[in-house]
């Protein structure tokens, strides 16, 4: 017993150190599990009021730019509506027909906390379960892909940004349809890497990269970026450097896209695995 006490007295600093590091590592391993964002959410609850205030100020200074973005998006949407309404008279199907029923639902949200300088970036948006958002919905900016929702509270959601080492996106080259996996390499918030495109395919700088819709998260054909440069390493595949369309530093208003038929697709796919 006395020896034990002596031992404890001698190494008490080391013991405190180990206990505290143990707690820290416990927090690190549980809190940073990317699908278990509970702790992050709790933490954000504390600092959120603060962030919202900073964000309000930032939003005010960027009003002009945001107006321009919205105006250009409006024009685009109006053009699309114009195209669609013209065809309406020619079609004779009921809207409730399941073949033509709506697959994707859209909603907008505001980014209230964002980062681009970490290796695993997340951002927070100001809508949550009460506004109908759920985990695994796609998030896009006016320009292109932004991220995927990984956690929802009543009024807020945490989104895993494309700028996250754990983010994978199925994308394809628009001109020839070859698809591969897009991920971020942690270097630069303007660029990402597209891999798994075989080397016999012809790729040129400036080609548009868009989503495939295979994952049932993103609809097909959302723009991700353009080919910036590519190299042929030893293997069978290109390493393509993609210049991202979305400017994550300016991310403010985002669209949230939900897939109404996601469960159906995933259930069917799982039943064959």
């Amino acid at each position: 017993m006395r020896n034990l006490l002596n031992f404890l007295a001698k190494y008490n600093n080391l013991i405190i150190f180990l206990i505290l590091e143990g707690i820290a590592f416990y927090l690190l391993s549980t809190g940073n599990n990317y699908h278990n964002t509970r702790i992050v959410k709790g933490v954000h609850g504390i600092t959120r009021g603060f962030e919202q205030r900073i964000n309000n100020a930032r939003g005010y200074f960027r009003l002009r730019e945001i107006n321009q973005e919205l105006a250009s998006e409006n024009i685009l949407l109006k053009n699309t509506i114009g195209k669609l309404t013209k065809n309406e008279d020619l079609l004779f199907f009921s809207v409730s027909d399941s073949v033509y029923s709506q697959q994707y639902i859209y909603s907008t949200a505001e980014v209230i906390d964002n980062s681009v300088n970490r290796q695993k970036n997340f951002f927070t948006i100001n809508k949550g379960k009460k506004q109908g958002l759920t985990v695994d919905m796609a998030v896009t900016s006016a320009d292109g892909v932004a991220g995927v929702i990984v956690g929802c509270s009543d009024n807020y959601s945490i989104v895993m940004s494309l700028l996250n080492l754990d983010f994978r996106l199925s994308t394809r080259i628009r001109s020839n349809g070859y698809f591969g996996s897009l991920s971020w390499d942690g270097r630069d918030y303007m660029h990402a890497i597209l891999s798994e495109i075989p080397q016999h395919v012809s790729v040129s700088a400036g080609d548009t990269i868009e989503t495939t819709g295979f994952s049932a998260v993103f609809p097909e054909g959302i723009i991700v970026g353009t080919v910036n440069s590519f190299e042929k390493p030893g293997g069978d595949f290109y390493i393509i450097d993609v210049a991202l369309k979305t400017d994550f530093r300016k991310l403010h208003y985002v669209n949230v896209i939900g897939n109404l038929r996601k469960t159906e697709q995933i259930e069917l796919e799982n039943s064959f695995q």
Binding site: I23, L28, S29, V40, S115, N117, G186, R187, D188
Partner: protein, 168 residues
């Protein structure tokens, strides 16, 4: 005693605010993320007991983690910095030893000593922090470069802050 406690509390709050409001928003390329809050651990009195130092480090890391939304990351790095501090102080102790009741500071022990002291602890802290952040050893040298660049910036800012503090 009360006086020095108050002064350290003010320094603590100021450093946390600087880190959260200013330095967390500095983004040159993604290679440089200065973490200057570690300066608080540097400035604690020389004679502070190791146990208390560890607890203060733990608490400081926890507060920063709260604001960064990264549970455990800053805490583990800061606790390690708190753990090695007594050994570093012993390793680089000046010839006449430390003055009783003093804080490690540039005026008392000189620029060179303070630079060395800051350099060792900031490097250890950043090394652990940035490797924990990526949590993998692929891209080992790129992370190392990030450690070195970020440390350089942190050290520069800490020295500037210490220089500014000299007037008071």
């Amino acid at each position: 005693m009360i006086n020095s406690f108050l002064r350290l509390s003010v320094i603590f709050v100021l450093l946390i605010l600087l880190q959260v409001l200013l330095f967390n928003n500095i983004e040159f390329s993604g290679y440089i993320n200065p973490y200057i809050y570690i300066m608080f651990i540097l400035l604690l009195p020389v004679e502070i007991s190791s146990g208390l130092l560890l607890l203060i480090s733990f608490f400081t890391g926890l507060v920063i983690d709260f604001f960064c939304g990264s549970p455990g990351m800053h805490t583990s790095a800061t606790v390690l910095a708190g753990f090695v501090r007594p050994y570093v102080l012993r390793l680089i102790s000046p010839r006449d030893g430390y003055e009783a009741g003093s804080n490690p500071s540039m005026i008392i022990y000189g620029f060179k000593w303070f630079l060395l002291y800051t350099l060792i602890i900031v490097l250890i802290h950043h090394l652990v922090l940035l490797y924990l952040e990526v949590f993998r050893f692929t891209d080992f040298f790129r992370t190392l470069l990030r450690v070195i660049l970020s440390s350089l910036f942190s050290i520069t800012f800490i020295l500037l802050l210490e220089y500014a503090r000299r007037g008071k």
